[in-house]
Amino acid sequence: MNENLLRTLMSDVDPTRDLSDETLDELVPLDGLLSRVRNSIQESLAPPVRERASMWRRVSFRASAAAALILVGSGTAAILTSSPSVAPSGFALGAVHSTWVRYPATSSVTPVSYATSAKSVNPALVTHGRINERLSLDGLTIAPPPASVHPRVPASQLEPLLWATTALKGTSPVAFGYADITLSLTGAGAPTLRSVPVWVAIATTHACTAKNPCSVTKLASMPLTIVVSGYGLPNAAATSGTPVAFVYQSAGKNSTTKPKLLAAIEQSSVTWLQDGPVKNRSLSITTGPFPCGALRGYSLVRAKNGSTLTVESFTPESTIGDNCASSIVVHKNIPLTTTHNGVTRWLVDPTASFVHAPTGPIGVTK
């Protein structure tokens, strides 16, 4: 293999080959980076009170479980702490950014199925889409939200996404609703959330039936594995906010087994509209709405009847970071050509139609 070929091959497999500076700025905005670095510097300068995981590290909370209650939540956030065991990886504290990267066609996988409704399982827990009873669990409290607070993104959009959370596989839905959550797990690097308005989806590995309903009292006292996952959203009153998204698992209140937090990483194919004809070798689209900072990217595939465009939203694995704008409709330009070694090529036929991919939750390929 000669040097030219070697150089060509290395260039072609460069993972950042197609990443422009603009894209990098979307991945990691300068302000966010500076803020994180400064916070980290300040943390390192502060006298240590107890061992704490780096802001950059993932934190998860280990627990074993007999049954499972699954709870999915999202909303604006603040931060706190409590007593679980802690291990690296799983829960990110960092900014959630909107990315716009072209993914290969195979990144769009078969839509996953999800439970459609939990209303019949435990109607008492939810009234008009809002949690109406206080559910106190180990390190996590779910309470009715203030009457004045309303979700910015409707339940119809989020419910299927939350139920499609990978961590909910093999569980039975209990309830879905808007709630205030308080997370107070003591542990290195564990976040604290105080009265954060979120959407929550609750499920359990126990079979909740009409004959054997998962009542609030029963849920709180059962030995449970609890998963919390969600999509970061500012509430209706906020013009900006910090997103929250995580999975919470617990062996149940008062269990000797500590709760555990996991990252929430979900993807969904979302709707888009073409903004006029192809111009400047780009396709302009309007997409969304989807949760703050949760745009993942797109894939463009040649098809017989045109080109299939899939726009993917992405549930952030991080929860608490920089503010994100509350605007949830996004205009994007999709470059339809690529230039390599001075040669520009169309990725797809620009004269053919652009076909909408199926929408809905898609499996996480990570």
């Binding site: 000669n2 070929l5 070697l6 072609d12 500076d21 670095v37 993932r58 040669v343 090529r345």
Partner: protein, 179 residues
Amino acid sequence: MSEKDTQFARVVATHRHALLRYALRRLDDRSDAEDLVAETFVVAWRRFDDIPPRDQELFWLYGVAGRVLVNVLRGHQRSMRLEMRLALERERELDTQRYNEEQLEQLMWALSQVKPDERELLQLTYWERLSYREVGAVLGCTEKAAGIRISRARQHLRQLLNDTDATATITRLPNQETL
């Protein structure tokens, strides 16, 4: 804001893209890459007085990033399967293909076989596109020493490649193509 703060902000603003590319080239997880960049700048802040003149800053930062990568993120190296597939997809769209899947596989295999420090040298050369002098600045050695080490790494890589392929050639593309 102090002079140090101002200068540090300039360093971050100037070199963040290059460092993020460096990180994304070596780590699968975007969050890990962000972590690497952030940690690198934290180290840069702590060692602010050691930062060399502007024309050498980036190479010094690459050196810091390399040490952070080794010390903090061991075992999280990037899997190149996706990049291989993308490269092949692009290549197949060309009228005249320059390489095939087998050659790409051979390169990936050979890269996996060289020592980590040799792989880093090759990546600095082919991905960051640094000269011998610049690699020397990253490694803290002379240009000549860097050249010798890079030559050895290339030689080792070629030996591995030649074990499986001695016939590959490259075909030049036309300079211009009508869209």
